[in-house]
Structure formats: C-alpha cells, structure tokens
Symmetry: C2
Subunit: 252 residues, 2 copies
C-alpha cells in the first residue's frame, strides 16, 4: 500500500496546493509512481496539472458512484496521476453527514486501489471540515505547509488538535511528516522571526528545506504544469526537489 | 442603519482579513464610527486588532445567547469597534443547520444594533459555507479582495454565482461594492497579466486603488494593530486610505 500524505492547513493561501502538486511531481521526477488526490472543491490542484475538467471526480468516489480507479487520469507529467475534483465536491461535505462511517470514505476508496503507487498526496481545502477529516483519516502522515507570517502561525495549534482527534477516532498511527516553511522571503525580518519561532516550538518536525517566495511557482499553474516542468532551474523547483529528497529520507 | 459590507472570497490567503481590518480602520481614521465583525473561526480579524480573547463572541450571537450589543468591544483604534470570533464559531456552522431561518441570523442581529455605526465590515472565512452565506445575507454589498495570481482568478465565477444565489434567497439588492486587486507586485508579469485580465472581465467594478505587496501589512497584525496604527507612512496604509476614499465615493 502506498504512503498516503495529506497536505493540510486550515489557514488559507499558505501553499498547500503548490506543495501537493510540486512534491508529487518531484517524486515523479525520481521515477516513482505517484498519485495526486484533489480534495478541495476549488479544484486548484486539478487545474494546476492541466486537468481537462471532465467528470467523474472525487465527488463520485466519495458518494459511492465510482471507484477511485475509474476516476483517476494521467496528468501531463511522467509517473504522476491525478484523482481530480471540482465544485461538485461541495456536495460531499453535506452528503457525507448522513453516513455513520463517512470519515472512512476516502480511506476505503484508496485501499481498494491497485495502481501500484508508491506515494499518494492529498491536497486539502482551507478548513477543518469533513473533506479535510476524510483526508486525514486516509493518511499515514500529514505535511503542514506553514507560510512565514503571523496569521499562519496562529492556526497551528488548532490543526494539531484536529490531528489528535483523528488519532482518537481510529487512526492512532497518524504521524506528522513535517512542517514546511513556505513563501520564505529572506529580505524581511518577518520571515526570519516566524521561522525561528516555528523551529523553537516544533523542533525536528520542521523540515530543513525551506521553500522561498519564487514567482515561477505562481506562474506555473496558469500553464497547467508543475514548476518542475515549467522551469526546472527555478528556486521553486530546486526547493521542492530538495524537499522530496528530505521527505524520502524521513519516510523511506 | 449602517452600510454593511461583507469582505468575501472562498480562495484562501487573498487578503480578506487584511482588507477588512484596514478598510475599517481607514474609515475610523476619517472619524466615522465603524464596526468590524469577525465571522471566521480562525479569528484573525479579532487578533489582528488586539482582541483579548475573552468570550462572548459571534458564536453567542448566532446561537441566540447574546445580542450583538452585548458582545461588541472597543478595539485599540479610535472609532473602531469589534464583534469578535474564535474557534467556537465552528459550532455555528453546524448549529445553524437546524433552523429554517438560519441564513438571517446575522442580519437580524445587526438590525437590532443601535450603535450608531456608519459602516460595518464583515470578515469571511475561506469558504462558501453557512458563515459566509450569513454574512452575504446580512450585507448591503460585497467587497472581493482578489490576489493577482492564477488560482485566485479561477474562483471568481463561483463567488459571483453565490452572490446571485443570496439575491434569489431574499436579498435582491445585494451589490458588489468592488473587486480589490491585492498583493500586487509590479516587478512581476503575473500581477500585471492578472490585473489586466480582471479589468477586461469585470470592468468598472474593479477598484482603481490597487493594494501593493507590502511587508508592513503582514507585520502589523503581530502587534495587534491595523497598519494605519503600526506604520501610517507605509505603502499599505496609503493604499487602504485611498481605497476607503474610493469606496466612500462609490457608496456615499
Ligand atoms: N513559494 C511560493 N512563492 C511564490 N508564490 C507562491 C509560493 N507558494 C504558493 N504560491 C502562490 O501563492 C498562492 C497561494 O498558494 P496556494 O494556492 O498553493 O495555497 P493554498 O494553501 O493551497 O490556498 P487555499 O487555502 O486557497 O487552498 C498561489 O497563487 C500560489 O501560486
Ligand atoms: N498587500 C499585502 N502585502 C503583503 N502581505 C499581505 C498583504 N495582504 C495580506 N498580506 C499577508 O498575507 C497573508 C494572507 O492575508 P490574509 O490573512 O489577510 O488573507 P485572507 O484572505 O484573510 O486569508 P484566509 O483565507 O485564511 O482568511 C497574511 O499573512 C497577511 O498578513
Ligand atoms: Mg489550495
Ligand atoms: Mg482571513
């Protein structure tokens, strides 16, 4: 079974989608079969790898209409497949409520999968609602992108409390794969101060690799491609390749 | 009755809280009585103006335990009051479901207010769930912060569809006060391209005032103050003062 990694943080705009896409692509570049699951109704991860927009989507999987295998499509990037999402997924947030085992829906769907994936990355929406809980429950570990700014720091304890809740609900072995400092701008004291604060609080779960603010990361999705495909020499690409190697070392 | 402005966009991290806090403060600086309502369980707007963290909060208002007047506190900034929020507000998102008139809860609470506010700004969470619907239903107009990047552009049509839904649910006069371009970085083509695209699509509803990327805006909340209090000479302060004047012109 693949190593399932949920990329989560309820704070908005901290680099969840950018990290999910580019980490998945970085493992693809290392010729390991990888699946990117988009569990955000915004569908940014799907568009960010050039998805056509044609259903079925994760909504059909969570509502029991299709298996994950039937919904998965190839992305434009080697070794990287996509389980796409679009606005329909909002329906799952409400639809999931009426089912006693709703929290296991994604876990069961991924367990049935026989795709030979080494790793699965699940992009989460900016909330701690049912879609994120589904992703955490399906995960072996959580990657927490943390923007080096004040508001992002505020929300971390809430996220960690949610991880603990998922452990109590039936996944005691859910780990924290790492906290990733994102959008780091070494010209500002703010980034340095927040990074220092985070390392003081969280110690070794903070990844050594820091993702700098790099406009190529923001440009790549408009071409429907990971930054490794858009501009392999950019600082953004180098950071996510480094991060993938670091994660592979932490979770062989 | 005050002019109620919801600051909304389901895309995360586009500058909703930063715009709500600093627009409210800019009207306060013009000596007009202003109320900032935090309807995001992250509580960023509350912390961003130095709130003590002591309940009651908006949760108590939406669940009928307290009136808005009993919950409102003074902020540290002249003419600016706060109706605070914290994590408890997540309970309202689920609690609101069982009440047929749930969508009118915030509207009724603000209508009962007799605080003599000229304007009320409501900061929304990064979602189109019940808390945002409550805010839109209570609003006279919506301010849409739009980060000048690709993913932010993608979500606009969904937000406009939601505004239309609220009009059909009982607030036909809900207007769009303006789309505000935020985090604009004139050194990148991306900002210029997105800004051009937005003006082409939305024409005159796009505000003339552009909010540049300015680190002082990101530093101010860690001191619990609006940027006008933290650094009045900064580009961020100047932009929000200009935006407030432009809005006052659009909605006298
Ligand atoms: N390191 C970076 N440098 C520059 N821009 C970045 C970086 N990481 C992400 N971005 C850009 O910042 C914006 C926010 O990032 P992204 O959408 O990945 O965050 P998110 O946490 O997934 O947001 P949401 O909460 O809405 O899901 C996007 O426009 C993205 O292209
Ligand atoms: N113009 C700007 N220049 C620089 N930094 C900014 C600017 N506007 C906002 N920020 C910073 O960017 C981050 C995101 O902004 P903010 O939290 O206001 O967005 P939001 O839309 O309210 O996010 P959420 O979706 O989580 O509610 C914050 O750390 C904020 O301080
Ligand atoms: Mg995202
Ligand atoms: Mg906010």
């Amino acid at each position: 079974m693949a190593d399932v990694l949920a990329v989560a943080n309820q704070k908005g705009g901290v680099g969840k989608t950018t990290s999910a896409i580019n980490l998945a692509a970085a493992f693809g570049a290392m010729e390991r079969k990888v699946l990117l699951v988009d569990s955000d109704p915004q569908g940014n991860a799907s568009r960010g790898v050039g998805w056509s927009g044609r259903p079925p989507t994760l909504f059909d999987v969570l509502s029991g209409e299709a298996s994950a295998g039937e919904v998965i499509v190839a992305s434009g990037f080697p070794y990287l497949d996509l389980l796409p999402a679009n606005r329909d997924l909002v329906g799952a947030e409400f639809g999931l409520q009426h089912d006693q085992h709703w929290i296991r829906r994604l876990l069961s769907a991924l367990q049935e999968l026989d795709g030979g994936y080494e790793r699965i990355f699940v992009d989460c929406p900016p909330a701690l609602g049912r879609l994120t809980l589904n992703a955490l429950f399906a995960a072996d570990a959580v990657i927490v992108p943390l923007q080096c700014e004040y508001f992002a720091l505020e929300g971390i304890s809430e996220l960690l409390a949610t991880v603990q809740r998922v452990r109590e609900l039936g996944r005691p072995e859910l780990e924290i794969a790492g906290v990733v400092l994102t959008m780091y701008d070494d010209r500002t004291n703010l980034s340095r101060d927040v990074a220092q604060e985070v390392r003081k609080h969280f110690g070794s779960i903070v990844c050594d690799t820091i993702v700098p603010r790099n406009v190529r990361l923001a440009e790549a999705p408009s071409y429907g491609m990971p930054v490794l495909q858009y501009d392999i020499k950019s600082k953004g690409s180098q950071a996510y390749l480094g991060l993938a190697h670091e994660l592979a070392g932490r979770r062989p």
